[in-house]
Amino acid sequence: MGQDRLALAVLVAPAIAFLAAFFLFPLVLMLRTGATGPQGWSTYAIILSNERYLGSLWKTVVLAASVTAATLVISGIAGVFLARTRFRGRRLLTAFLTLPLAFPGVVVGFMVILLAGRQGVIGELTHAVTGDRLVFAYSLAGLFVGYLYFSIPRTVLTVMAAAEKLDPALEEAARSLGASPWVVVRDVIIPGLKGAFLAAGAICFATAMGAFGTAFTLATQIDVLPMVIYAEFTVGANIAVAAALSFLLGAITWAVLAAARTAAGGTVAAAG
């Protein structure tokens, strides 16, 4: 027994060392760097009471949450449909849906500009029809569209995989007991996909919280947290604040992921 434990300790030691060197150590370093400014540890308190930082944090969370919500609704419907329905070109469409995964954030931002920028297609169209140019690429709406674009593919695939495992007899059983199609969605499909929604939603939220490339490309009026961190770090050389904000961004995202994992763990246990 004692020998087994020793052997186990020896075997996991490299993993622990790796974890310490490349994960815990930088984290501690960053946490400490946040306290190296003139205000020391109270930098953390200050950023939490600073209107600009707090506003940026709030905006980022709302953006990430709404992107997650919209992604889950769209991908949920599309994923269940794609998993259930057989039609010509289904595989091609599914493959096509994963295409945005191949683009970096910068390219996605560029595409949003082409779509809704000052010379964008939507601007041209609305100008031709109403005389006014509809431009939203450089606002939170533009960011929302861009994030949606790269969030949907990952979520659709996760939902499809889960939907294919749902027993169609469950829906038929609910219907036989009098459930209308909407009630079936509420009582069977959503509970059945809960695990997939939580897992995909968590990834989606984390990605949207930290996405930088798209925000950087669309830049002008947007101050989501990653942009603020970048500005503090490069322009302001305000390294302590940048580190404190980074730590805060990580902590909030991690808390959401942990909460989702706990909830998903609950469903996994319940499903057996």
């Binding site: 027993d167 007899a169 059983a173 609910a174 036989s176 007991l177 009098g178 319940a270 057996g272």
Partner: protein
């Protein structure tokens, strides 16, 4: 005579054009248990789904419940109870939640709902499972919950799709007896689909034997067994001995001797006999050699070669001959009976 469920000229064609069910007329009497029996792919599940409202017949087929046309109603508006092969219990609800689900959708007040759920669980002899999660149940318990859930809404007709198939042999036997008793006590109209002929015989007041999208014979289990309408029914239900020979002078001549013709028409004849309709008889006029003997507990199944063109099977409760022995056989009326050609 009143009819609980009626199918009129119901056919079903899949989207890809394959015909799952040929135009079928079927009338199910109130309180009757109809067993739909057939090999896989014969259209029996399609038939059940048409009654359920999970599939709709090709025009002009009609489905009637107590003379009311329900053809266009989907399953959720037909008030049927359905038990699935996989049981399809809701994993996010406990046992009581599953059984009470249909009542909740019908807005039955909670107190009454709880009382009715408790009554059904008691009837299924699983009251202690009310707050158990469904993944903690055994196969037999799941089956009881599925049945309670389907019955709790007091359906017009109970539909069971291979309800016992997922269980092991001993439990299947037990639940078959229990289910037969329950259906009889409740007097509920029910249709159950099975590929197991013993199950169909034991549970069905009547049995519909299906093949290739068609009902080949509909009748009491005894009729199906003793007076099969087609060669397929004769072979699918029970064990069949095919006796191909020639009738001359009131005698059926076979490779291993003869049997009384028993009313078979003179000339080349195709006759059938069930294993229990043949017996070992020192005075018998048909001889053959024992190829194998299987001990089944209450009886012995003996396979004999040389008596007819094909090996024949005889069952006996007495002393069984050993492999290699030459035996003499005689037939008990109504065997040999004429075997339908097709």
């Amino acid at each position: 005579m009143s009819v609980a469920v009626e199918l009129r000229a119901c056919a079903f064609t899949h989207a890809d054009g394959t015909r799952a069910l040929l135009p079928t007329d079927l009338a199910i009497r109130p309180g009757e248990t109809l067993a739909v029996l057939g090999p896989s792919g014969c259209g029996k599940t399609t038939l059940l789904r048409l009654i359920a409202g999970l599939a709709f017949p090709d025009p002009p087929g009609r489905v009637l419940f107590e003379s009311r046309d329900v053809t266009s109603l989907p399953i959720e508006r037909r008030n049927v109870g359905m038990v699935f092969q996989s049981y399809a219990l809701f994993p996010n609800l406990d046992v009581a939640g599953n059984v009470g689900y249909g009542l909740r959708l019908r807005n039955v007040p909670k107190a009454e709902r709880d009382a009715r759920v408790a009554r059904w669980l008691a009837m299924m002899r699983i009251p202690e499972l009310a707050h158990r999660r469904v993944d903690q149940l055994s196969g037999g318990q799941r089956q009881r919950v599925a049945l309670a859930r389907a019955l709790a809404v007091e359906p017009a007709v109970l539909l069971l799709d291979e309800p016992l198939t997922a269980l092991d042999a001993k439990l299947r036997e037990e639940l078959r007896v229990e289910l037969a008793g329950l259906l009889r006590d409740l007097g509920i109209t029910s249709v159950f689909v099975t590929h197991d002929q013993a199950e169909a015989m034991a549970l069905g007041d009547r049995v519909a034997v299906m093949r290739a999208g068609k009902v080949e014979q509909l009748g009491a289990p005894e009729d199906i067994y003793r007076r099969p309408a087609t060669r397929f029914v004769a072979e699918f239900v029970g064990v069949l001995n095919v006796l191909a020979g020639e009738v001359r002078d009131g005698t059926l001549h076979l490779p291993g001797g003869s049997l009384p013709a028993n009313g078979l028409a003179p000339g080349p004849a195709l006759a059938g006999a069930r294993p229990e309709q043949l017996r070992f008889d020192p005075e018998g006029t048909l001889t053959g050699r024992v190829r194998a003997a299987f001990f089944l507990g209450d009886r012995v199944r003996v396979v004999i070669e040389g008596a007819a063109a094909n090996p024949i099977t005889v069952e006996t409760t007495g002393a069984a001959p050993r492999p290699g022995e030459v035996v003499r056989l005689s037939a008990a009326p109504p065997a040999p009976w004429p075997l339908p050609d097709a």
